[in-house]
Each structure stands twice: as C-alpha cells, then as structure tokens.
C-alpha cells in the first residue's frame, strides 16, 4: 500500500511512472524506487523460496545487509532488491 498522504511528509509528490515485469505480470512503479518498494506497493511479499527448505522469504532489513530479499533481476540472481532501483522494462523473477 502506498502512503499518498502523510502528516509530516505531506502529499506524495508526482513521480515518473515506469513499467516493470514480474514473472509475466506488468507492474507500475515509480522511477528510482527500490524494487522491493515497488513489489510491496503491489502487495507482493514473497520474494523468493529458499533452496533447501523451500521457505518463503521477503524483505527483512530493507537496507541491503541481510540479503534475504534477493531476486533475479534482468537475469542477475542474488540481486538485493531493497537497494536496487527499478528501471523501465526491468524483468524480475523469484529465485530458488
């Protein structure tokens, strides 16, 4: 859910919209925001399933330290989505 109105931060300023593709689904995102934020705004919270135990994982630290939110971004696996910004046409996949 996006926070459009905020008592301190005010109204969300207009931002350029780009399109990203998450496993075939085209999503709108704001230019410059991290992938993790864009996915969260669309209600996506499972970013990957673990290799051994096949457990779901999502955002944990949100500042690039825990590496739990990694996904395959434009073919690059293990990309930290909380610190990697969206670009128009970016392709994102869950990794195993």
């Amino acid at each position: 859910m996006r926070i459009l109105e905020h008592p301190i931060l005010g109204k969300m300023p207009p931002r350029k919209v780009v399109k990203i593709e998450m496993e075939g689904r085209v999503l709108e995102a704001f230019e410059g925001e991290p992938i993790a934020a864009a996915l969260t705004a669309h209600g996506i919270c499972v970013f990957r399933y673990t290799r051994v135990r096949k457990e779901p994982r999502g955002i944990s630290c949100a500042i690039g330290q825990c590496t739990d939110c990694v996904m395959v971004v434009n073919g690059i696996p293990n990309t930290r989505t909380c610190v990697t910004r969206v670009e128009d046409g970016m392709k994102i996949q869950r990794q195993e």
Binding site: R51, G75, I76, P77, N78, E96
Partner: protein, 392 residues
C-alpha cells in the same frame, strides 16, 4: 570459560589440529590407542587445512612415486569415511587434467608411469575432445587425463569430522593451547610444555604444517619448510552445474600455466563446484607468510575464471568470499614423515606442500601402524627426515 584440566601423562602427544594431526588422532583411536592428546594453538582446522582448495589429485607433476602409497590408502578410505565419521566429508570424483596437443605425449608417458607403479587402474587418457563433453561449460584444451578417484572433499567438514570423532573415541583434544617447549632426556622426548601446563609423553608428533619448524627448533632440529601463500575466491551458490567433475585443472601443470602478471604471484586455473553450489576459483601462489587476501589475487583469479568458464560472466555470477592459506613447502616437495634419528619418540607428520588433504589420511594410517607396532622407522625412505642430513 573454565578450561578442562590437562592430562598429565599420555602415550602420544600430537601437536597440530589440521588434517595431519586430526587424521593421526583418528587413525590411532580407531586402532584402540586412545591414550592420546592433541594440542592445537588455535582450533581444529583453523589454519591451512580449513582454507585450501581441497583437491584430491593423484596426478601431481612431476610424478612423485614416494607419495603414491599415501594416496592409495587415502583413496581407499574416502568412500567409506563419511559413514565411519558420521559426517558427509563431501568426497566427489573425478579429477580432470586438461592437456594441450603439445602436452599429449607427455601425458601419455605420465599415465604409463603410474601404471608401471601399480597405480594404473585409477587413470585414463581421454580421447580427443572427450573432455569437452564432460565439461561443456569450460574452455579447455582438447586432451586430458581422467583421474577416476581424485576430485574433492570439503576440507572443513573433513578435518573437523576426523578431530571430533577422535575426541568421541577418547582422544583428549586441547584447543587454544600453545606448545612453548619440549623437554628431551638422553635422546628421548619426555614432555611438552604448553601455556596451560606440562604433559609427559612417550611420543611427540609434529603435525604443525607451516609452523612445524618452530616445533622442530624446540628439539634442536632445523626443518626446511617454507611458506607459500595461496588464495582462492568463492562464488555464490549456483543452481546450475558449472563444473561437473570433482576438480579440474584446465591446462595441466605439465605445461607451465602461470600468469606472471603481478610480480611474484602466479595464478593457476583450478576449479571445482561444491555440493551446495558454490564455485571455488583458484588459485594464486606467491611467497608469503600472512593470510590476508589481496586485491591483486582476486583480480587475477576473476579474470582467468571468465576466460575458462565464460558462463560466469554471461550468467552474472557473483563473488561472495575469498580466503588465503599457507602451504608448508619442502625443498623437494615431499612430505616429512616418521621418526627422527637420534631423537626417540619424536615423529614428523608435516611438510605436505599442496597435497595434505589428499594424502594426510594415508600417511596417518602408516604412522598409526608404526606407533602401534613400536617400529623405529618409516617404511618410505624418501619421506624420512634423515634425507635432510645437513639440517640435523
């Protein structure tokens, strides 16, 4: 933390908790000799045995026949050890050595030599380009030697499993305990002094790898071991198999494959993929006695890896770690094993150069039998310390 009280008297003291010391502790315990103490300055596998390339390679260049019995016994043990120790030691075969057209004949001769030494069934010359079918992701020379029982183990799991099992069988393992002196009387070793107290012992084993000369000096021996610094980088876990064999040298040492890029550092291609999926990208060698990874080594290793395994670049593989270790190098590149003339009870188990993981277990079997039977010499002449008579 309160440390366990030291045992005051024992039959065998092993100094060093690497692959040499842990193998021997286990091989003794397995034979019922459990009145044994293993003393380690840091922790089990905290030096070179924990941070090496862990290749099991019988195909060493040049051929060193004296080491073959050690390999032979190690190779017999590897397939059974995981079960014996209750831990997966990560043994994976085979090992490949790629050979260029020019090196083919030398390779053939090499394999023939192995056959003549009764070690032939483990090797095969590959047909031209057969190697490319075995390793489709790698850019390799067209010929190759297949070493069927060579490959890899996980050095950390393997070394700690041996040490832990020895402890379970009754060996006393004292970690964070440093030997500060050794007392001898009338040509016999009598006791070791540690920073936590003294331990009397009939046998004292020097299994200290790169630090073996320090222990030697305590009993007046000059052990000619020098250190060679080696570095390796580690990739993230990969879902796909990039390297199929246990370990591979893309251009065999039969030809000098060295990047002499940065001063005295040499970069050899040596690759393997661990069971969990990480690629190990090795190795650089240079004289040195510290364990700090260098930017130069990481750069050299990465550049070479991309040439040999282009997929690393195409698939955007990341480096996630690196490590350095110290090989204990002897002048003739042979290990130093067995008793020392004139100093009864003092036993060498060191100088393994770059093959400790592959041969340490076999050597331990020989040494354990020797101690069990109270023999006064080591059966393989070329590996005795006495070959360095000028050092004694």
């Amino acid at each position: 933390m309160l440390k366990e009280e030291l045992k005051r008297r024992t039959e065998v003291v092993i100094i060093g908790g690497g692959i040499a010391g842990c193998s021997l502790a286990y091989c003794l315990a397995k034979r019922g000799i459990t009145d044994v103490v293993l003393v380690e300055r840091k922790e089990l596998a905290s030096e070179s045995s924990g941070a090496n390339f862990a290749s099991v390679m019988c195909t060493m260049i040049p051929l060193r026949p004296a080491l073959l019995p050690l390999y032979s016994r190690s190779l017999d043990a590897f397939p059974k050890l995981s079960e014996e120790l209750g831990r997966d030691i990560g043994y994976k075969t085979p090992r490949l050595n790629a050979l260029t057209e020019e090196a083919y004949e030398a390779g053939e001769k090499y394999v023939k030599q192995f056959e003549e030494l009764g070690f032939g069934n483990g090797f095969r010359m590959l047909a031209k380009n057969e190697i490319n079918g075995m390793e489709p992701n790698m850019v390799l020379a067209p010929h190759g030697i297949l070493d069927l029982r060579g490959g890899q183990v996980n050095p950390l799991y393997y070394t700690t499993a041996l040490g832990d099992k020895a402890r379970e069988l009754g060996v006393k393992v004292y970690e964070n305990t440093e030997v500060v002196g050794i007392r001898c009387e009338k040509g016999h070793v009598r006791l070791i002094a540690t920073d936590r107290g003294e331990i009397e012992s009939t046998y004292v084993v020097n299994a200290c790898g790169a630090w073996a000369p320090r222990i030697g000096a305590m009993v007046g021996l000059r052990i000619p071991i020098e250190t060679l610094k080696c570095q390796v980088v580690v990739s993230e876990k990969l879902t796909e198999t990039y390297v199929h064999s246990g370990s591979i040298t893309p251009i065999s040492y039969l030809l000098a494959d060295m990047d002499q890029s940065e001063g005295r550092m040499h970069c050899f291609g040596l690759y393997k993929q661990l069971k969990k999926g990480e690629l190990l990208i090795g190795i650089t060698e240079e004289p040195g006695n510290d364990k700090w990874v260098t930017f130069e080594a990481m750069e050299a290793l990465a550049r070479k890896a991309i040439k040999i395994i282009p997929k690393i670049k195409d698939q955007n593989v990341h480096i996630i770690s690196s490590y350095a270790n110290l090989y204990a190098v002897t002048p003739d590149r042979h290990a130093i094993l067995g008793p020392v003339d004139g100093l009864q009870g003092f036993i060498m188990n060191c100088g393994y150069n770059d093959y400790g993981i592959g041969t340490g277990y076999g050597a331990a079997e020989f040494l354990a039998e020797m101690i069990l039977n109270d023999e006064k010499s080591f059966p393989i002449e070329e590996l005795r310390f006495s070959r360095f008579s000028s050092y004694h």
